[in-house]
Amino acid sequence: MVKNKAQMKIQQMAFMLIAVMIFFALVGLLILSVGFSGLKEKATALQEKNAILLVSKLANSPEFSCPEKTNCIDLDKIMALKNNINNYKTNKDKNFWGVSNIEIIKIYPGGKFIECNSESYPNCNTLKLISEKTTGITAENFVSLCRKEYDSENYLTYDKCELGKILVKYEKIQ
């Protein structure tokens, strides 16, 4: 009788332990699912932050910058870079900057859309340096767009700077 009672107690405790374990496992699963649910948003926010950081420092990087000026893009240099952009590909899908798009747009003086290439330059207003994907996270910043211009009246070369924007696009995490 006493043995039976003890066995019953052990069985009861075993069931209780199993129930408690299942309960904790379920709670753990719930916590994990809540934790991982924001992971994609976190990655997207991080990419957005990266895009903003890149766009704010890109104009001052050696490949883009003008001599003795800050926040300025040398358009003559960028046209040369555009013609040699394949040298900046690190592998099949990636480029040196790790972005899917880099575009430079002239804002002022404005005009109708003319894409910059060796024929239209400098009378153009949109320069697509890298254009791999059309959708993604975009960050933009104002920049000064400078190029060398010849003043035929005074027979001198000067820096002509206009106002533009640089747009950087990251591919969105699916």
């Binding site: 309960f23 934790g35 957005e48 300025c72 002022y108 910043n141 104002f142």
Partner: protein, 162 residues
Amino acid sequence: MIKNKKSKGQEEMVGFALIIILVSVILLVFLAFSLNKPKTEATGSYEVNSFLQSTLQYTTNCQTSKRFNTIQDLVFECDLKEKCFDEKDTCKVLNETLTDILKESWPTGEEWPNKRYELIINTGEEIILNIQEGNLTNNCKGSSQIFSKSKKEFSINFEVCE
């Protein structure tokens, strides 16, 4: 004997209920923390700051002393009441160019995200230029730049409201 067994069973039930309550409270606290995480900050004023820097470097059509003036040069020339080679007033060219730049760069109005902008250029004593458009809101971001020539200090302040 039966009464004793009953009370023991009740005790165990209370214990189990306590465990559930404790875990539920922990879970609720965790949920509250995960839902109330601070959101990432808005873009800030880096765009406004870059706009000011770039605008000051813009080359205008006003020529004085055999070179084309930038907006920054025009501020100095305007302060000295100089004229361009084509006899246009430097202050007028400065005003017109900046008004056009602002209209193209920061379109304002109900249908645009920006509701107002204001640009002020001044020396210590007087305001050289003040361009503003739109109505004031609570969400504004601004930037200012200081530059000097011949020991005279100039400042340009720009503010955009969303």
